[in-house]
Symmetry: C3
Subunit: 209 residues, 3 copies
C-alpha cells in the first residue's frame, strides 16, 4: 500500500511539474524561473498542507520528489516544442487531472490520519494539496489564478474529497476501495471536463458589473 | 469572557466573509471561487497568525468558524443583489470595520498570552489577523491589495494594537477594559474614515514618478 | 563567530529594507505600506524559511531585526530623493546583492545545522531566505516578480548555496572558510551582473508565443 502511494505521488509530481512549466512557458521564463515555478507547482500544495498540519514538509523526508520534479522541469524546458504539440498537451492535461485526483485524496487521507480538524479540515487540506501548488505558481508568475477562471478543476477534487471523508467516517472498513473510487471519480469528472470542454454554468457565476 | 470572545469571533467571521465575497463578486467568480475566497478572507489572517505562532490553526479546533464562513458566503452569493445596494453595502463596511477591530485585538491578545516575541510581535500578529485574510483574497483574485490603496484601514488596527500592547505591559490589571477600549478606538477611527471618506494624507505617500 | 553572524544579518536587513522600499516607492505607497512592504522584504524570506523549518521566526527571538528594518524604512521614506539618485541607488543595489549573499548562506547554514532534508533542502531554504522577502513584496505590491525577470539575482545565490552545501558535506572542517568564500562568490557574481548589466542569455529562456 505504501508502495502504491509512493508511485502515485511520483506520477502526480511529474504531471504537475510538466504542466506547471507548460502553463508559464509562453511568457519567456528563464531556466531558473522554470525550475522554481515547476517545482512549486509540483510540491507547493503538499508543502502548504504540511505547514498547516504542522508536520515536516514531505520533501524534507523523501527528497526524491524534489529530484523528480527538477528532472521533469528540465526535460520540459528542453523538449518544450514536443510538449506544446496540441495532441501531447492534451495528454498532459489528462495526466495533470490524474495528478490532482491523486494529490487531493492523499492530502485528505494524511489530514484524516493525523486526526486534524475532523471532519472538515481533511477536505480543505485535500483541495489545498491538489490546487495549492498551481495557485502559488500563478501568483508568482502574475497569472490569473484558477479561482478566477471557471474551469471544472477544483470542484471535482472538492466533491471527491467530501465523498472520501464520508467514507472514512461511515465506512472505515472500505478506506482502500473508497480512496481508489474517489480518485477515479475525480479523474473521471476532470477528464469529462477536458474532453467536452465543460465549464461552470453561468447560473453559478456572479454577475460582472 | 471566553463566551464573549467566541461571539466576537463569529460576528467578525461573518462580516469578513460577506465583505470578502462582495469585494470580488463584480469580477464574475463562480460559486467555488466565492466559497474559497470568502472563507480565506474570513479565516486567512488568523491562519497565518497561528502558523507563525506555531499553534494549531484555530479552525481545526473550532470548526464552527468554517461553517459560519461557508454559510455567509453562500448567503452572499445568493442574495448578492441585496448586499450590493449602496445603503446595505455601507452597513457591511462598518461591520467589516468592527470585524477588523475584533480580530486585531484578539490576534494581539493571543500572541501576548503565548509570550511570543514580546512586545513587538503581538502588534504585528494583531495586524496580520485583521488584514491577512483580505490580502490573501486580493492576491488570489488578482486585485490591488490594501497596502497599495491609501485607505485608513490597517492604520487604525496598528495603532489600536500598539495601545493594547502598552496596556498589557504597563497596566496588566486593566486587560479587559483595555481590550474593549482599543476595539472601540479602532472601530471608531475606521468608522470615521468610512463616514467622511478619509484617506492617508498626501504628505505620507511616496511620490509617483 | 555568532557576533559576526549577527552583524551580517543586521547589514543585510538594512540593505533589504532600503531596496525593498525603493522598489515600490514610485507607485505612490503610503507610509504604512512602506513599513509593511519594507519589513516584509527584509524579514519575509527568513520567516518563510523558519516556518518550513518549524522553528520560531527569528525575529520573535531577536526583535532587533524588526526595529532595524522599521528604522531603515522610515529613513528611506523620509530621504527618498536622496536614495533615488542614480549613483546612490547603484550603491544600494550592490549592498542588496551583499545582503542576498549573506542571507542565502545563513539560510542554508541554519537548515544544515538542523539536519533538515539534507542535502537538498538547505539549498532550497538558502534561496528562500535570500529571495523570499522580495517575492512576497512584489506579490503584495502587484509587481512582476523576480522569477519572471531575467535578472542574474537568484542564480548566483543558488550556485553559492550549492557549493556551500558541497563544502559542508565533503569538507566539514572548512565550514567557516567555505561560508565566507561562498558569500564572496555570490556577491561577486551579483556585482558583475549589476556592473555589466548581465542577464540570463536567450538560450536559457523559453520562447514567448
Amino acid at each position: 500500500m505504501d508502495q502504491i502511494n509512493f508511485w502515485i505521488g511520483i506520477v502526480a509530481t511529474i504531471a504537475f511539474a510538466v504542466t506547471g512549466v507548460l502553463a508559464i512557458a509562453d511568457r519567456g521564463v528563464d531556466l531558473f524561473g522554470v525550475l522554481v515555478l515547476g517545482v512549486i507547482t509540483a510540491i507547493g500544495g503538499g508543502t502548504v498542507r504540511d505547514i498547516i498540519l504542522d508536520v515536516p514538509a514531505f520533501w524534507s523526508i523523501a527528497q526524491i520528489y524534489i529530484w523528480v520534479a527538477l528532472g521533469a522541469c528540465i526535460v520540459t524546458f528542453v523538449a518544450e516544442s514536443f510538449f506544446t504539440q496540441p495532441q501531447i498537451y492534451r495528454w498532459m492535461l489528462y495526466i495533470d487531472g490524474l495528478g490532482a485526483a491523486l494529490f487531493g485524496i492523499q492530502g485528505a487521507d494524511k489530514a484524516w490520519n493525523l486526526g486534524f480538524g475532523l471532519p472538515v479540515a481533511p477536505v480543505i487540506l485535500g483541495v489545498v494539496t491538489a490546487i495549492g501548488g498551481g495557485l502559488l505558481r500563478d501568483i508568482l508568475a502574475g497569472r490569473k489564478t484558477l479561482l478566477m477562471s471557471h474551469e471544472l478543476y477544483a470542484i471535482p477534487v472538492t466533491l471527491g474529497c467530501c465523498v472520501y471523508v464520508l467514507i472514512l467516517n461511515f465506512f472505515p472498513a472500505l478506506t482502500l476501495e473508497g480512496s481508489v473510487l474517489c480518485m477515479l471519480a475525480i479523474f473521471g469528472l476532470r477528464a469529462a471536463a477536458i474532453y467536452w470542454d465543460l465549464r461552470v454554468p453561468k447560473l453559478f457565476i456572479t454577475k460582472t458589473r
